[in-house]
Amino acid sequence: MLGYLIRRLFYAVLAVWAVSIISFFIINLPPGDYVTSYIAQLAIQGNIIGAEEAESLREYYGLDQPSYVQYLKWMNQIRQGNLGFSFEFGLPVNDVIGERLVLTMILAAATIVFIWIVAIPIGILSAVRQYSIWDHTFTFFGFVGLAVPDFMLALIMMYFSFVLFDFSVGGLFSPEYVTASWSLGRGFDLAQHMIIPIIILGTAGTASLIRITRANLLDELRKPYVATARAKGLSEWRLILKYPVRMALNPAISMTAYILPFLVSGSIVVSVVLGLPTVGPILLKALVAQDMFLAGGIILLIGWMTVVGTFLSDLLLVWADPRVKFEGR
């Protein structure tokens, strides 16, 4: 058991390291570098920078060194908890990401909770009342949820929340709370603004979790231990909740790990459309501007979150399913 955990942890660390290399590789993939895009930006404003100036700018930003040197320097900084320096913001990456990362995580966590809260009861209902009108309805909407592209849903919901409900558009806070310090009111405001993003982010996940829960529960419901429990005289709902649902939750738990990167990736698109102050939009901007440490830092953090999320969900699984422990995988 402990061995398994240690091995698991080791893999997690390995994965984070691999992610750092890959993210560094990715941001160095496109031709050019930050100076190129900086020059392009200046050119739009009518400022033209010559090749010599560009070279000295590269030197200034350390972009003239071979990429492995840059990588090692970056790693060294990361070792000290410093993700590097954002060229575009002119600020350390840590400062740039700051609250956005917290909001991203809150959003992802809230979405996962939303998915669970919505999908599991519906999945259970669909399975227990298989082929009922509810089952068909939820299944249908589940598939529609899978099929509608996130960004479409985001745009439409945004527009109609504005037109029909006069809801302040985009963002995660009302204007009066944007810079306020954390308080009950701000938390409530955040919760209110997170509804639409969560619904949009959660639809696909909810749909697939409903399907998974339903299918698993249907399998479990046919297992003999259900008959055993029933023969004991347990009431139907107590029985279902205690036995097959617990079993059917295992795949849901493992799915959570796989949902996390999807959520973060998906939240990029949704955040861009809805204008959420999460890391998504600045990641896009940083990639366009080739602000490499900012982009790399965010990718690394997301990768890290995913690896940790997978790890946590594995732990959760060990807790939820004693067989895993037994097998010592």
């Binding site: 893999y11 390995l14 994965a15 691999a18 992610v19 890959i22 993210s23 990715i26 941001i27 993939l29 496109p30 031709p31 598939f143 529609v144 899978l146 099929a147 509608v148 592209p149 996130d150 960004f151 479409m152 745009l155 439409i156 527009y159 037109v163 299918a215 249907l218 399998d219 046919r222 297992k223 003999p224 295992n250 493992s254 796989y258 990167p261 973060v264 990736s265 990029i268 698109v269 861009v272 459309v273 990641l283 896009l284 990639l287 366009v288 982009a295 990718i299 997301i302 990768g303 995913t306 690896v307 997978t310 594995d314 699984l317 399913d321 067989r323 895993v324 097998e327 995988r329």
Partner: protein, 382 residues
């Protein structure tokens, strides 16, 4: 954690009975029987067939050259095709004239049903090559030649802001989006099967390595990956090349799901008798994998591929929407929706969002079909 150590359920007696009859049927027949029973899946399959027919006959079905623009007919709402004129069957559309309203700056169009523009089947239209070889100018529907005036037109689904025919563009977009998905799935199938099979068959270190790879690929957010790669394309690539490159990129990161499925099957199958038998009889590992093990779950692979296709389509659509995938002038569902991603479309010209309908329908249909296939293919499924 992937494989459920609990043995597959004990089939209740009632299923034993069904099994017995079925045990005499061939595998293929069996799948077909089971599949046929999923009526939703059958309908979905029919829908998919229709869509792929569109892919093949896009030119024939189109009413206008998709790139033909006419600014002063921009943002025209869909024209209704009337089948009857009174009681007389006489397919026509009503004449529409319009201009920019000088007060609201919206495009205003007025339908005048006193002027009827005759529509017929197999009408003459622009020249094209059917299947890429047969030159013709016949289209499924179009304006009747004998009554045609220069100012007559037919825009079944309206026009976009450049005054291009949304209907024809949608057909061509369908062609690109559905084929890009196919290529992508094919590629990720190959990757997924090979890596999954190797991983599941050999197990141990190789399995561990491949599983780590899967984990790493999955922990990197896809958008930056796509962006980085898309930006790295050589600049002189044509749209067609970029199209394929994007397909490859999408599939490079889409194989993991399939890989896991295949691996899981291999893990359980490795210990089965027929594999042991094959091994004992001295078959090469390659032969065992590709001759013995893989065919035993072709159907699963097909089902998995069907379920992967919608993901591809969504990926393409999303990427194009973000401006990272296909770009105009390429026409795909994604690029069409890119034009619809704004406030004025939702508020004033919602027909530009029509391309969302086939996206949703195809994804729905593929999911239903995949589900049906999967259930049909798996004798142990409920």
């Amino acid at each position: 954690m992937e494989s459920n150590p609990v043995e597959q359920e004990l089939a209740p007696e009632i299923e034993d009975i069904v099994e017995e009859r079925i045990s005499v049927a061939s595998q293929r027949q069996l799948i077909w029987w089971r599949f046929r029973k999923h009526r939703v899946a059958v309908v979905a399959t029919a829908l998919i067939v229709i869509f792929y027919t569109i892919v093949i006959f896009a030119d024939f079905l189109a009413t206008n050259v998709p790139a033909d623009s006419e600014a002063f007919r921009g943002l025209m709402p869909p024209q209704q095709v009337h089948i009857f004129d009174g009681w007389k069957p006489s397919p026509h559309v009503c004449a529409v004239t319009g201009a920019r309203n000088p007060i609201t700056y919206q495009k205003d169009y007025v339908t005048d049903c006193t002027e009827k523009i005759q529509v017929r089947l197999f009408a003459r239209g622009y020249d094209y090559k059917l299947f890429g070889v047969i030159p013709t100018d016949r289209h499924l529907i179009g304006l009747s030649d004998d009554t045609l005036r220069p100012e007559d037109y037919i825009y079944i689904l309206g026009t976009d802001k450049q005054g291009r025919d949304m209907y024809s563009r949608l057909l061509f977009g369908t062609r690109i989006s559905l084929t890009i998905g196919l290529f992508g799935v094919a590629l990720s199938l190959v990757l997924g099967i090979v890596l999954g099979a190797v991983s599941g068959f050999y197990g141990g270190l190789i399995d561990n390595l491949i599983q780590r790879l899967v984990e790493i690929v999955r922990s990197i957010p896809s958008i930056p990956l796509y962006m980085g790669m898309a930006a790295a394309f050589p600049h002189d690539w044509s749209i067609l090349k970029i199209y394929f490159a994007i397909t490859i990129i999408i599939s490079l990161f889409a194989w993991t799901d399939l890989g896991r499925v295949v691996r899981g099957r291999f893990l359980t199958m490795r210990d089965e008798d027929f594999v042991t038998a094959a091994m004992l009889s001295g078959a090469s590992q390659r032969r065992i994998i590709f001759r013995h093990m893989l065919p035993s779950f072709y159907s699963h692979i097909i089902a998995a591929a069907t379920l992967a296709l919608p993901l591809m389509i969504i990926a393409e659509t999303t990427l194009s929407f973000l401006g990272l995938g296909l770009r105009p002038p390429a026409i795909s569902w994604g690029t069409l929706l890119q034009d619809a991603q704004n406030v004025q479309t939702i508020a004033l010209t919602p027909w530009l969002m029509i391309p969302a309908i086939p996206v949703i329908l195809v994804i729905l249909a593929l999911n239903f079909m995949g589900d049906g296939l999967r259930d049909a293919a798996d004798p142990y499924s409920n």
